[in-house]
């Protein structure tokens, strides 16, 4: 392996344009023989030398046919990627230290089946993907989020050694999208806003006696709350409301100032984050106060609150 391989690759990846949609063409598909391909080339060369020495015409045929096969394998491997369309899909964020899903959409507009493998620039697991003719598919590449804040999607390497495993066709794509890393929630026993006896058990959810009524679906309702049977029967999206669910009760105030001035930023954010999640779990209304920013209880509050926490006081 080259000693400068890593910095070289990083430099090269930085130069790639960021695209939310891209179509793989000849300018960005690279082809290299695999180890097996090289081995077969060696075999072809050995057969050729033998043919030369023993003047065996049919051995020439074999050697040259192998060579031809390798060349055709180049075209076939190229065809696996050529014309493939890639798109970014909306992705949810994740907490610091967790893996976030980078969701991508692959689109095949030709009548060939494509056998692909995807990997993020940081390594990790290869994601195999078999894309049928004229089909599209969503693929998820995971990325570990180490810091709080907004992270660009990692560059994605797509490759294929199909159909023979002789040639590896690969391409890089830098999706124009980002992921949010929320602060890691830290339990904060002093400020238990929710009416939990012990902070857990309550939200096990849809216990029979807790169920109160069915309400209209509101954005932000968890999938757990959705009345799937109703959806199936009447095609109406409805959410279950629980008896303990406080409605019209006082707003919980989750504030930056709740903590002593000695506490550092990250710890505060982590605690606030935990409280936000607790309130969300219990379905309680809350208002998040951050210096220069306030998140009111309106639809989609969870995402906004988490985003505000994630991006708080980060250099742009």
């Amino acid at each position: 392996m080259l000693p400068f391989r890593k910095p070289l690759r990083a430099w090269w990846l930085r130069r790639l344009p960021k695209e939310s949609v891209c179509r793989l063409g000849q300018r960005r598909i690279y082809l290299l023989p695999t180890r097996f391909g090289l081995l077969l080339l060696l075999v072809a060369a050995a057969v050729w030398v033998g043919a030369l020495n023993y003047a065996v015409s049919l051995a020439y045929v074999l050697a040259f046919w192998l060579l031809g096969l390798l060349l055709v394998a180049v075209l076939m491997a190229y065809r696996q990627l050529s014309g493939l369309q890639l798109q970014v899909q909306e992705s949810e964020g994740a907490f610091v230290g967790q893996f976030a899903d980078c969701r991508l959409r692959l689109l095949n507009t030709t009548a060939i089946t494509r056998q692909l493998l995807l990997q993020s620039e940081h390594g990790g697991e290869c994601v195999p993907c078999t894309l049928a003719a004229m089909a599209e598919q969503s693929v998820t590449v995971v990325q570990l989020l180490k810091r709080r804040g907004r992270h660009a999607y990692p560059a994605i390497q797509l490759w294929s050694t199909a159909p023979f495993g002789l040639i590896r066709a690969f391409s890089w794509w830098r999706p124009d999208a980002s992921l949010l890393a929320y602060p890691l929630p830290l339990p904060d026993r002093e400020h238990q806003d929710c009416h939990h006896e012990n902070g857990r058990g309550r939200n096990r959810g849809d216990d029979e006696e807790d169920f109160s009524h069915l309400g209209e679906y509101r954005q932000g309702d968890t999938p757990r709350q959705i009345a799937w049977s109703v959806l199936a029967r009447r095609d109406v999206l409805a959410s279950k409301r629980f008896a303990s669910q406080p409605r019209g009760q006082a707003l919980h105030q989750l504030a930056w100032q709740d903590y002593p001035a000695t506490l550092d930023v990250e710890s505060r954010l982590s605690r606030l984050c935990w409280r936000v999640l607790q309130c969300e779990k219990a379905g309680q209304h809350y208002r998040l106060h951050l210096p220069g920013c306030m998140v009111e209880p309106w639809p989609g509050q969870r995402e906004q609150a988490l985003a505000a926490l994630a991006e708080f006081r980060l250099p742009v």
Partner: protein
Amino acid sequence: MRLAQFRQGEMAVLLALALVMLPLLLHLPSWLPMLVLTMLLVRGFLLQRQNQLPSLWLLLPLLGLSVFGLWLNLNTLIGREGGAALLVLLLGFKSFESRQQRDWQVLLALGFFLAAIPLLFDQSPPSALWLIVSLLALTWAMLRLAGGAVQGAAGMAAQALLLSLPLMLVLFVVMPRLPGPLWSMPHEQHVASTGLSDSMEPGSISQLVQQQEPAFSVVFDGQPPAHEQLYWRIMIFDDFDGRRWQSVHGQTREQIQLAGGEKVRYRLTGKPSRSRLPLLDYPLAAPAEGRLEPGGLFKLASDQDDVLRISGESLVGSHYLSELSRSDQDFYRHLPPGNPASRQLAMQWRSQSSDSAGFVREALLHLRLGGFAYTLRPPLLEGDNSIDAFMFSTRQGFCEHYASAFAFMARAAGIPARVVTGYQGGQFNSLGRFWQVRSSDAHAWVEVWLAESREWLRVDPTAAVAPERVSQDLGQSIPAMQAQLPVFGSRMPAWMVRVQQGWQAAGFAWQQWVVGYDASRQLSLYRWLGLGEIVDSASVVRALLCGVVLAGLPLLWWWRRSTESVPLQEGRSRLERALQQQGIILLPSDGPLDMLNKARGLPAPAYRELKQLCKDYAAMRYQNPALSQQQARLWLRRVKIFSTDLARGKLRQGG
């Protein structure tokens, strides 16, 4: 990759290897391919049962043992046979050591090498056919091992091989050939060779004659000589020990002169036997590949036994004038004691005639009228006086009997004589326009030295007994040969002759253009195509460029067909991308109406155009699914124009 799929790939590799190995049963000591086939079978069984592989401590001694056995059997581990055997053996053991995919890939690559090995022994069309079968099997196994296309893998392998066929042909024709080998190989003595043997003993040629194998083929420039003049000389036997004629190379040098006759040029293709190839009586000069030995025999410069093409020049019907010194004459008159009756008869003829030519006439007359018969199955001649037994009791024999007896009688009469062996005649193939000489045309005749004219005279005593033997094809002249075609009686039907000739012609073409395609043939092809006067790097590059263009055409056709996208899909995704650049995000679920709704913000001309496009799209997609491809392509072209115009900002208001 799914594990089950991978396992099938391994099975495919084992299967392909076994298939590739089959022809080696013919060429190697058969216990070896059998052993390796068994090993592959056992490996497959272990694979199926997912059992543990045997440990290295078991395998290594076994490997040593079988290599030792191989060495005992062949006495060598290198060269063509030894190397092949060793490779096959190692392959078998490697299969027991293959665990990861990489091991299996190595095994498969070795399999491709293995496919080349039978070709070293045999280059006939069936061998080529098997090569294709092997390649198909190996490519199929490669596809299976790569894990992908499990369905239709065989079809895909065939497709890939077909696509690479033109490239192979171009490279085969264009890539330079070497005139000689890169390194010399240990000569393999134990390979039984066909052709004429080193000595002549009653029975040695008649065995050859019963085979119908082609010996060599000839193309004449211009008019070919008459059938009875086609004497192809290969060897001279100058010593007789009472039973057997052999060559002791008594004469190291011969001053000859050819007088009269007609010059004939020809190209001969054949497999040398002991570095010898036949030349037509009498050769004028040696072909470039070797030299002429005393007696007008052609000997190759290098020790090789692959099919060779030489071009010869001969004077047909000329006189072979040679000065023989007294000692040379004595050498050609030497006889062992024995056969008193024949000696006496010879002396009698000699005394009845005035000169050597007269003796020849007397002797031939006796053979013609003395109740001699030509047969392929003569009675055995036993005892010391074999010539006497033949001349006076059995009187049935084949060319070697007549030649042997005649040369004996001539020597007994004091006339220098020697036996020449080679081939006589040949069969003209009108389809391929060449002459085919077979093993069955093997022949022996006599040369006697006439002191009066100082000339070696060719005498064919067999012709005196069976004149049709030299004037016709053997199959028609000898009853014994006709009897070998039981179904059709004595004559072959015309269609069968045609089929046979066609088959021969195909074999000839195969020999000329595939097996015998060598440096000289390549050069002539280069000249004919006008690529260059010599095969050098410039002409090879020229030829490659032309060839690759030709070979690329089918590839291009396949490429265009296989990567063609479906116009409607393609157009829709193009529109999606074009709109995205304008800041309009479409969802996969969005139909044409949603697209229009979202694109309301576009400048009016662009919106109008988009509206039309969407309308057509909806019409083609939803109203008339059986639309013509032509229409869809036209629509796609409009979409392309629209997207580029949109990107360049041409569709702005008033723009």
